[in-house]
């Protein structure tokens, strides 16, 4: 029993990573109805920016805040320059755009910072958290940050005018324009926020998986699994999905013999396929009725 509790706790700790990533995925999906396959790479690049700032002597939290601002701006610019022209293009074209972005960011990060693994600091320390061997203070900090982020997002979307406008633009663009909302900028804002959230995810993950251009491959896959499990349209669902996926991964690794780290990605694959087939709307998603 003790083992189970500990494993669940450890699962929640890893789940926090996926939850963050899933939040970013859901933010963009809400805004433009597309999955951003370059989300992981964007987060990785943001993390490198934070690392670079720290290398230049910027203190941790200043680097953190600067990185968020830079990432937000970059997200807005990427949307305005690269994806706005594709708004009405077929899905295929958009997927091609995301893949192109993926390839560019991965390659450029490798060119600038090369592919050697780098240490990334944590502000929370890495001693055992409240005496538990399975969860460190960093992981506890990660869970905390994720939950705070979720609450902030909830407050933003529920109680601010701009949050309301963003929701309106995402659900019914035409009606939103008819009440005077500039839907194009709402989408750009969604990109900016998603990129900043991705940056937070990257900065939190980097101390665990180490910093290098390919660090996000597996995380992104689990982020997708979490987002799909949560229903793709609900930030709360994304976070719950993230924690569930983390717990699931840990329990499977503990209780099913022969399934260790080496099956990490196939497990994510199986999860995604199963959720999409059994319950495509996820745990908290809305059913979208398709018009003929």
């Amino acid at each position: 029993m003790d083992l189970l509790v500990n494993q669940v706790l450890a699962g929640i700790a890893t789940g926090a990573i996926y939850a963050c990533m899933a939040l970013a995925i859901v933010m963009i999906f809400q805004a433009i109805d597309h999955l951003n396959f370059a989300q992981g790479e964007m987060a990785m690049f943001s993390t490198f920016i934070a690392w670079q700032l720290m290398q230049w002597g910027v203190p941790y939290w200043w680097a953190f805040i600067l990185t968020l601002i830079i990432s937000f701006a970059a997200g807005v610019i990427i949307e305005r320059v690269l994806f706005k022209p594709l708004a009405k293009a077929p899905v295929l074209t958009n997927v091609a755009g995301f893949i192109a972005l993926f390839a560019i960011i991965n390659s450029v990060a490798g060119l600038i910072w090369d592919f050697t693994i780098k240490q990334f600091p944590t502000p929370f320390g890495s001693s055992p958290f409240m005496g538990s061997q399975l969860i460190s203070t960093h992981q506890a900090g990660m869970i905390g940050v994720t939950l705070v982020l979720l609450i902030l997002l909830f407050l933003f979307f529920r109680f601010t005018r701009i949050g309301l406008a963003m929701r309106a633009a995402a659900t019914l663009p035409e009606s939103a324009r008819l009440v005077g909302i500039n839907t194009g900028w709402m989408i750009a804002l969604g990109w900016g926020m998603a990129t900043a959230i991705g940056a937070i995810a990257g900065i939190l993950i980097a101390p665990v998986v180490f910093l290098e251009p390919n660090m996000m491959g597996g995380v992104l896959l689990y982020g997708f699994a979490a987002a799909v499990l949560g229903g793709l349209s609900s930030p709360l669902g994304a976070v719950i999905g993230g924690f569930l996926v983390g717990i699931f991964e840990n329990l499977v690794g503990t209780y099913i013999p022969g399934v260790g780290n080496e099956l990490k990605l196939p497990i994510a694959l199986a999860l995604i396929v199963i959720v999409l087939v059994v319950k495509p709307t996820g745990l908290m998603g809305r059913t979208v009725v398709k018009r003929v």
């Binding site: 005018r161 309301l164 309106a168 659900t171 035409e174 009440v179 005077g180």
Partner: protein, 237 residues
């Protein structure tokens, strides 16, 4: 009375298909005008053209200012509220949030909550349901919500696209009564597109009849209503 809206030589296109062929009409300040015509005559297109939601040429002047080349949201911000066909309700949001959205482009945030109260006075049923998801309202209630949402803009001009569509006759009568009241008391000019010509002519002061993208008849509402020939050939009652 000065012209609030002045439209000249309006031609609109859906892809290669031309839907409006040089439409001309104007709307006086404070008036309630109706645009009548059969299915496919171009009524909805006219409203969409005013808000730049369909490719068009010609001139549209609003309070002496040209709307050409302005984006939909900027046209709305000038004070033109548009209640589209199908109402455009944000069904997943609450009634109150829908009203908030109507005022989203306003700068005077302080006056918004008192305006919401005013809407609840116009439409008491909305007050009862203010925390409900808008999608759970009945058709008539959703239409009222759509009108209220449009009024939250404090518009100078309100465009209504077939407000009677799919509603029970009694509810339609109520709705039109309220529209008349809004027109008189709040000094909102209204352009209403209707298939239910009889009802529209009862409350409007001025009427235009549109056929295959052209204005074929215009005049005071009561004149048009009393003209037997017009009624038979264009309005079908």
């Amino acid at each position: 009375m000065t012209a609030l809206l002045d439209i000249k030589d309006l031609r609109s296109y859906y892809g290669q298909v031309q839907a409006l062929h040089g439409l001309e009409f104007h709307l006086s300040e404070g008036s309630m005008t109706t645009l009548l015509g059969a299915n496919g005559a171009g009524k909805t297109t006219t409203l969409r053209a005013i808000c730049n939601m369909v490719r068009s040429t010609g001139t549209i002047m609003f309070e002496g200012q040209s709307l050409n080349g302005k984006s939909t949201e900027n046209i709305v911000r000038l004070g033109i509220a548009h209640v589209p066909q199908g109402r455009g309700t944000f069904t997943t949001m609450t009634v109150e949030e829908n009203l908030q959205l109507g005022a989203i482009s306003r700068k005077d945030t302080k006056a918004i909550s008192s305006d919401i109260e005013r809407m609840y006075n116009h439409f008491p049923v909305l007050k009862q349901r203010h925390t409900q998801q808008a999608g759970t309202l009945s058709g008539g209630e959703q239409q009222m919500l759509a009108v209220a949402r449009a009024l939250m803009l404090r518009p100078r001009l309100m465009l209504l696209d077939e407000p009677s569509f799919g509603l029970a006759p009694l509810i339609v009568r109520d709705l039109f009564k309220i529209l008349g009241k809004i027109n008189r008391e709040d000094k909102v000019s209204i352009l209403v597109v209707e298939q239910n010509a009889q009802l529209a002519l009862e409350i409007a002061d001025k009427a235009y009849v549109i056929e295959t993208g052209r204005i074929v008849m215009s005049g005071n509402a009561n004149e048009i209503a009393s003209n037997e020939d017009v009624r038979k050939s264009y309005l079908g009652y």
